[in-house]
Amino acid sequence: MTSRRHFLAGLAAASLAPVPGWSAVGTPDFLSAALFPDGSYRLVGLNADGSILFSLPLPDRGHAAAAHPIHAQAVAFARRPGTFALVIECSTGTEIARLSTPEGHHFYGHGVYSRNGALLFTTENDYEAGEGMIGVWDAANGYVRLGSFSSGGIGPHDMVLMPDGASLAIANGGIETHPDTGRSKLNLPTMQPNLTYCDLNGQVLEQVQLPAALHKNSIRHLSLRQDGLVAFAMQWQGNKTQHPPLLGLHLRGSEPKLRSAPDDAQTTLQGYAGSVGFSSDGQTVAITCPRGNALHRFDATSGAFTGAFALQDVCGLSSGPTGLIYTTGNGDVGRLATNGAETRTTAPCQWDNHLVPVNAAV
């Protein structure tokens, strides 16, 4: 794994290299993949008001992205089961590195940088073994692969760096797939999703599982509040006549709390949440539900359901400068504030699943 020598070398390179920071590209609030009317898939830097600062071509449909904490660099992941990811220098639009998974692995479409940007972590499938892995890349040295460790489960999807900067939270969705059989789910009856916390060397610190009756509730996406409260969004793979909670909240060392809307709203979601996000003040948490064409809002402290908002094909969600910002497959970019959902712009593109915040440090 990462040696101290590598790590220090990375730090040195990061501070010395004349690499443009996010301000060089107008400091976008978010990154998102999108499909444009000419059929091209692009990675877009956008602001909370919906304005597009840049858009860079991708070779295929994207999923999520990872934003470098300092430099204007973004990793665009191919949609599952892609085997490559592009590191793009956003100020020039050039590809500065191409990550290829080792033989027998593919990406799941999410990744996260270490706090100083020296390391990149990616969720991967070791598909012959059917085991989830986290790939580790030396972001400061040409994105050389340093190694990998177990994700602590099957089907790791989203991942966040915890506020301590020294640990990761990983959503192991529990679903086994194999590239030979496309996106077919191979283990639904035995699936066992979990939320795994580990240090940056893969040492497991804590694992959270749902009650047995909810073993088919795939934990897929994460959002983090600065105090370490993790919100997780789920996708139900069980009987469609059941409508289990699709939002969970967890603080290390305590039991997870599952949150649901009242029946009449919950039953319209088709058991599917696409993204989860906290508001900028941390008081509100929400999930987007593209199959139910709804955004559900909750009080992050009490867990109380505080409203459903009808939004066609809504999926991308992230905290904005204020409130929560969402994107839809129809091109809408909007803000959810206390008084409701307000679409600000309709962009000439279809926003893909995720809205990734750029937390520009400089």
Binding site: G130, S184, T190, Y272, R291
Partner: protein, 336 residues
Amino acid sequence: MRTTVFATALLIPLTAFAQDRGPILLDVTETHVLPRFAELSEATQALVNTAQSDCVPSSTALRKDYSTAFDAWISASHLRFGPSETDDRAFALAFWPDTKGFTPKTLSKLITSEDASVQDPDAFAEQSIAGRGFFALERLLYDPSFEEQGSAEYRCSLIQAIAADIDRNADAINVDWQSYAPKLTQPGEDSPYRDGDEAMQELYKALLTGLQFTADTRLGRPMGTFDKPRPNRAEARRSERSQRHVELSLIALRDLAARLSFDHPEIAADLDAAFSKSIDRVQSLEDPAFADVATPQGRFRLEALQQSINDIRQIAVTELGPTLGINAGFNSLDGD
């Protein structure tokens, strides 16, 4: 009289937008769904009866009834919603693919410990689904590595217990379908489907996922990659049923597709022609367990078959889907 006519004329446009799905829903339910589960339930009863009197794995009678019951399941296995999903019944009937070898492990554990649950159907129903259903029974009837494990007497009880459990699940699905049928044919208040479109979409999804499973999993798993074909991953290869399952599933899906496209004769004709090609291809194979996938010619034939099934999917998605009010959302269909 004149007033009545006028009033009716005003009402028609309001309802004309929503197509009347009633006749197709009723047809699919009564002539496609219910008979399949009734047949399955009968075939599994015959299997239990035979197993009770003759539990020798190599018995011709036992293997014949096993085969008939498994045929009936494959012909209904695309109907994965409602009663088949309650209590994981479909998985308990057929746990495959078994990527981590849970079935042989579970069976060996039962045999080694002479687990007493084989004497009690309720207790056996609580065992892991990997140790139950048609694939567990296949191991005991056709896998030489189980011929010598434990005592013949216990293996006999285990065969009988698995057969009885299969029958119990098949009966439960069949019984539940009697009360589920009206929910599918009369959507609304007391139904999981709010309207006819949603009920149609459930059936359309069954068609699509059935095609996908046959193309991607039944064929895709043994095909592996060109450099690394995986004949040992073929479905039910020990009983040499792999090719048969593809054929049976296509025949069942063709029937469903024809009924779903009844109101659109051109689409129905396109689908039927595509199914015809696929079914001809699978019937012309002489590769019951897909062992030939390891040879270039054998692989080529499966690839062509897989492609022909993907052609059917394409027609279903581009022609049939839009007639059923399918919401083609960029994100809602992504499933990630």
